[in-house]
Amino acid sequence: MFQDAIRKGKRKMQRISNPPQGIRSDRWSYRLLIWPSFFVLFALTVVPLFINFYLSFTNTTITTLNKAKFIGLDNYIRIFTKDKYFGQACLVTLKLVLGTVSVQVFFGMLVALLWNMDFIGVRACRVLHLVPMMIMGIVSAFIWRMLLNTDMGIINYLLKNLGFSNLNWLGDEQLAVVSVILVNLWGGTPFVTIILLTALQSVDSSYLEAAVIDGADKFQIFFRVILPIIKPTVLLAVMFRLMDAIRQFDLIDSLTYGGPGTATTQLNLYAYSVGFGQWRMGYGAALATIIMFIILICSSILMNQISRSNTL
């Protein structure tokens, strides 16, 4: 209270005697410093986004780069009415995103609770657990393709020893989806874990003590005390994983090539294959625009939730 008042007083004094208030006082050199970087940012991101938007209204292909025609909403109309692959890709995206995010957050929470305990070697465990996060998607895809190989993969070997028959992990339509989720579980959980771990560590222990005194058991403490406190962080983790799952490309591209058939071709892969496989770039741009809208809607819903749970 008092400190605030003192600070305010100081500010007032400064304003009266008019000394420089940080860098901003020298307006023009400040602007000269800031504007180039903002300009670069705009040139690199805003301009291409507008071009993308424009291209989505044209029938640009690789052979008609310079003489593409403006065709209005045709691309969008075709996507929503005639394109059966689009609906399929949406369904695959939904499956993959729901599977990936739920599995990652669930196991991320469990592992975070585990790393939050006190035992010998826990520090080493926390660091080692981070390793998959640093491996590029394509490399982890290749490693897992080797592990999941039908005939000589080690996972099928282990399953056989347990009495199961060989599973065609990447060749079966249902199992391919499971495989993608499994590899995502391996590569994406550490991120969730580390975020949730910090949230857990920042929970004030007096809450826990109070709950123990009130006679709460472990589950009650977790669901009634800890979870409500760290809810904003959990939602943030969900949001980040959701965005990453929607726009995922490299892992699926190298793990299953979107196959078998179109079983794991989600929207992003589909847009890529249209834009740069069939070279119908206008149509691809329209698909990309739709993906961006989906992401914007999802993220704004989640952001809303986060800010609401922050104020609660």
């Binding site: 050199s29 080692l128 640093m134 491996i135 394509i138 290749f142």
Partner: protein, 279 residues
């Protein structure tokens, strides 16, 4: 009673260690398997039952080293990653600083915009960049790759450093200005040293992301600029994958990054926290 409690605790301990072992095994086994395949001979690699003891051989690594163009792509990746890091810092520091200090609607809008840019899919930039590059002739050039990498790295860096700049008290800047520093000097001599941890975090991320980037690399790079993230594909073909070579190449691509990340582990975690929690 006491004994009962003790027993329960021992059981709990055992369970905790068991769980930790399972998690670590699941985490590290694929990596171990990759390294082991890379150091095995072709016969040993897929023998059933798997060989847990083997005499390591470096043949695969030597072969990868002699594969035409692979070491070149190593260099390409390095050049592109360093350039991307440098540019994202050069423009990201002023951006982040302005976001932290600016007031009013413009800054708020800019902050939201940067937040949104961070979430956009690479596909949204792919078509227009390909289109522009085709016209300007920037396909298969270093600068072309760096520019398109900056679309993700620059907003990320600006946003990360924004968080760090917020923690710097304005009084320090005021003092510097009173002592006669120009705006530029204040930024270089006062702000930058204070947010050094943030800068190291940002550079770790920029370097790692550009090293691991695949989507744009596949699209924009050509024969002259293939980064390693795409060059690994060389060892996969329709006839039959040479797993030994592929694993050796994967190790050569991934292991430097793992070591780099483990060394800079602290700034990595700090960055993730700043990135996620301050959101």
């Amino acid at each position: 009673m006491v004994r009962h409690l003790f027993q329960k605790r021992v059981l709990g301990r055992v369970f905790i260690y068991l769980a930790a072992a399972v998690v670590i095994l699941f985490t590290l086994f694929p990596i171990f398997y990759c390294i082991s395949t890379a150091t095995k001979t072709a016969v040993d690699a897929f023998s059933i039952p798997p060989k847990w003891l083997w005499i390591p051989t470096m043949d695969n690594f030597v072969n990868v080293y002699h594969t035409e163009g692979f070491m070149m792509s190593y260099l390409n990746s390095f050049v592109v990653a360093v350039m991307t890091t440098a540019f994202s810092l050069a423009f990201g520091i002023p951006c982040g600083y302005a976001l932290a200090r600016g007031k009013g609607r413009g800054t708020a809008a800019m902050g939201t915009y940067i937040m949104i840019t961070r979430m956009l899919p690479a596909m949204g930039f792919a078509v227009p960049y390909y289109f522009i590059y085709k016209k300007v002739g920037l396909n298969d050039t270093y600068i072309g790759l760096v520019l398109i990498y900056l679309t993700t790295q620059l907003p990320f860096t600006a946003w990360l450093l924004n968080g760090f700049c917020r923690t710097v008290p304005t009084e320090i800047e005021e003092a510097a200005m009173i002592d006669g520093c120009t705006v530029f000097q204040t930024l270089i001599r006062v702000i930058v040293p204070v947010i050094k941890p943030g800068i190291s975090t940002a550079s770790v991320f920029a370097f790692m992301h550009s090293w691991n980037e695949y989507f744009y690399a596949k699209l924009i790079s050509g024969r002259n600029t293939r980064p390693v993230s795409y060059a690994v594909h060389k060892f996969v073909n329709d006839v039959g994958t040479n797993w030994g070579l592929l694993c050796a190449a994967s190790c050569m691509v991934a292991v430097p990054m793992i070591i780099f990340a483990l060394i800079s582990q602290k700034s990595l975690v700090r960055g993730l926290m700043a990135g996620a929690v301050k959101g």
